[in-house]
Amino acid sequence: MAYSSILDWIQFNDVMSNPFYPYQTYNLPFDIGYKLWEIIGGLIAWIINLIFPDNGVSTWLISPEVSNMFALVLFMVIIFAVAFIVTLISLWMERKVLGRIMDRRGTMVGMKGFMQCIADGLKTFMKENVIPRKVDKMTYMWTVSLIIGTSVLIACMIPLSPRWFVVDYGTGLLIIMALFALAPFFILVSGWAQNNKYSLIGGMRAAELMISYEVPMLIMIATTCLLAGSFNINDIVNAQFDTVWFFIPQILGFITFIFCATAEAERVPFDIAEAEAELVEGWQTEYAGMKWGLIMLADYMRGYVSCAMVVIMYLGGWLIPFASAEINGWVPEIVFLLKVWFVFFIMIVLRGALARVRTDQIVNIGWKIFMPLSIVNLAVVLLLKMGGIF
Amino acid sequence: MTDEVYQQPSVQEISGLLRNRFPGKVEVTGTEERRVYAKADRECIHEICAYIHDCLTFEHVTSIMGNDMIDRMEVIYHLSNYFNGVMIELTAEIPADDLHIRSVADIWAGGNWHERETYELFGIIFDGHPKLQRLLTPDTYEFYPFRKSYKLRGQE
């Protein structure tokens, strides 16, 4: 058997030409994952072939089926890594901006303070895994896993551009909403399972919070979909490119939705479920170490998803208005993320300026202010639709 | 018998009224600008305090404190008027073998904790107090630390 060059084993195939390619359109992270696997898999196959010439494993490793499978794994890793880094940047941004609002400098460890996030992560991960003796162990562990799991799932499912997505459902916005609304249930059960009065009250409050903002929020999502004529995220973004950004016709909805999104992410002024002034840490009281670190990460992921929803629904998604298709085709992901961080910046300023509302006040706000506003918003959109403007 | 209500009694009025209203029970020992010092009989301390509260409009009890004079105990009341800033210092002496005095917590709710504190630190029992339990020190203490008979370590 003659010596075979490594280049014989690495062939850069077009990802679209793979017979098992799972999408209809071009997917950038899948492409990256595919190319990565071609390099890694090719390397492994070449080494194995050097030691055991003419074995079946080497050819198996670079066959289209196997390439596709490992490309999918790498694809998932890439999607998660990007969502993770975006979340870390939001966290870093919050620390720095909030610090400046409060007249201090924020974190200062390495890379303008970004390394503090890594340090905090490592610290929480190295903590002992403490489970209180009197909790309901199974529920205690499962609920927190589900809270973190659903949050990570939706954070990964947010498409950054037409070429950066996990699934391209016709009902994309609804699926994200449905997953988003799951966490309060787990919080309620988790508060119950912890056998702690603060956690119990915190869990109850999470449910109370949910019934107050969820309905107006869904009405506003329906309004946006009505305006765009589709539940598909891609279609909503393109509709905004064709007309105007939707925050102009539904300015009421935009403002209300920002507040609803703040409540959805459980941030000040609506963080009543973990109100540390009276409830210590609310439903998170009994979680320590790594679990708490992951809950914190999940919180920021939810914050990122809330902001992404605002961007998709009202701020034109990943497209720059009046720009040519070529410009919009360069780095739509970066444009999208910049908009997300802008919305997150608004949330940080809100956090810096406002106090926490009371439980009865949030229900009042939800049903007496958000609800009528969202219905007025719906009426305005209906009139615009009927008038043929959109 | 209804008494005339004075909202802003002067120092002279107070000493005169106290003497006349409780002859033999209250002894005004001295007056100063905005201050009246008096000694009261412990048997009728509640009536005197009720009179001072209702008719002389001393709405506020600044403090109720105990004092151990070894051969006797004292309970000292500082009462203040919110309309002219006059204070009455009322001293009631208690024999050391019978540490009981009527509680005034029903007249001034603010005196409640002062009496509890005096009870736990001096062992003076306030009859009629709604909740005479230890407040600052642990419930397990069986001694009264502010009495002169309680010596600190290294005090001798």
Binding site: R356 | M65, Y82, Q155
Partner: protein
């Protein structure tokens, strides 16, 4: 006594017929600024009963004083309250001077009340910071702490320490002040009068802050007085009484200031009273600086006093930032006090926490108790 909407809320809550739950808030709890416990009985979110528990910090302060000579108690009096240490030292010195029957120099009197007002501003800013965290906002906390830092610097220039100042002495004050200090202080106060509007507008212009405070912790004037609540919390309930004005000590009768009184009786009026007191304190500081300047550089500021206090009794009271504080001294003619009693305002104010929080929601408990401005050093003594 409980003439307020408690009864209505109770009726509303008991219609659902839920079990009641005792929640122990403290001693390690973010809302208890210091070590104390509030046991609250909850019906859903509504507090139906409450009981404060104190004593975690009881050091036997009064007993300890009986074993110390008079000058040695001055630094101990600093430790009664960390946020406004000067007032207790001042009060102690006043009490002993009264027992000695001496009158201290005018300059010392002005310097003492100036120091008192500096401490009042510090203490009120500390309270403002605590209000911020209790309502869930950290910006107020850090901004108030930033402003407080300027007054800490004044303390350092005045006597060399930031918190436990040890400045007043029996018979006067520790040291004189110079031109530079006066210039620095007046500049600081003028700056502060403008800068504090940052914080006030952040709170007052925000409907969330105001709605969290308005109507909570309501007490009638009669209840408030009967419970013995003193200080700004009392003046927010419509009691027009301030020891500085109505029972003046040192030279408070020679300076011009107003006593803010509001009649609403809720947390918001208590908040407003404290904010207004900040400005009044600034006014007093500016006046005292002028008076000290007028008295002249080489005027005496301290008297020599005997170490033994003649047998007798004396008491003095003073308007602490938190309320009415009083010390009562029994001396037996030696160089140590026979008995020294401290009347702390918070000791009584916290005993009123049941009527204060009863009937309100658990979320309002921190906001209501913040208006009392807890300080456990003086409460437990």
């Amino acid at each position: 006594m409980m003439s307020r909407d408690v009864i209505d809320i109770k009726a509303e809550a008991s219609a659902i017929n839920t079990d009641k739950m005792w929640v122990i808030m403290g001693p390690q709890h973010p809302f208890s600024h210091g070590l104390w416990t509030l046991k609250a009985q909850l019906d859903g979110e509504i507090v139906t009963d409450a009981e404060p528990i104190i004593g975690y910090l009881h050091r036997g302060w009064e007993k300890e004083c009986e074993n110390r000579t008079y000058p040695k108690i001055i630094p101990m009096a600093d430790r009664l309250c960390y946020a406004a240490s000067m007032t207790y030292t001042h009060l102690y010195c006043m009490t002993v001077e009264k027992a000695l029957g001496i009158d201290i120099p005018d300059k010392a009197k002005y310097m003492r009340i100036m120091a008192d007002e500096i401490c009042r501003i510090q203490s009120h800013l500390m309270w403002l910071a605590a209000v911020g965290t209790d309502l869930g906002n950290l910006t107020v906390f850090l901004w108030a702490m930033r402003e407080r830092e300027f007054f800490m610097d004044i303390n350092v220039r005045l006597c060399g320490a930031r918190m436990t100042t040890n400045f007043p002495r029996i018979g006067g004050v520790r040291n004189d002040i110079d031109e530079e200090f006066m210039m620095y202080t007046s500049r600081c106060v003028e700056r502060f009068e403008k800068a504090v509007w940052d914080i006030i507008s952040l709170i007052d212009d925000s409907s969330i802050f105001v709605s969290r405070m308005k109507g909570t912790g309501y007490l009638t004037r009669e209840t408030c007085v009967n419970l013995g609540i003193t200080g700004p919390a009392m003046r927010g309930n419509g009691v027009d009484f301030d020891i500085r004005r109505d029972d003046p000590y040192d030279n408070y009768d020679k300076v011009d200031f107003e006593v803010p009184v509001l009649n609403d009786g809720d947390s918001y009026s208590r908040y407003m009273v404290r904010i207004e007191e900040l400005f009044q304190s600034c006014k007093i500081i500016k006046q005292t600086l002028q008076k000290i300047k007028a008295i002249g550089k080489n005027a005496p500021y301290r008297l020599k006093v005997p170490s033994k206090v003649p047998a007798g009794r004396a008491f003095a009271r003073l308007e602490d930032p938190r309320g009415e504080s009083m010390m009562y001294l029994v001396s037996d003619g030696t160089d140590k006090p026979y008995r020294l009693k401290v009347r702390s305002p918070i000791f009584v104010n916290v005993s009123a926490s049941k009527p204060l929080v009863q009937g309100s929601r658990i979320a309002d408990v921190p906001a209501i108790m913040a208006m009392i401005d807890m300080c456990l050093g003086e409460t437990d003594r």
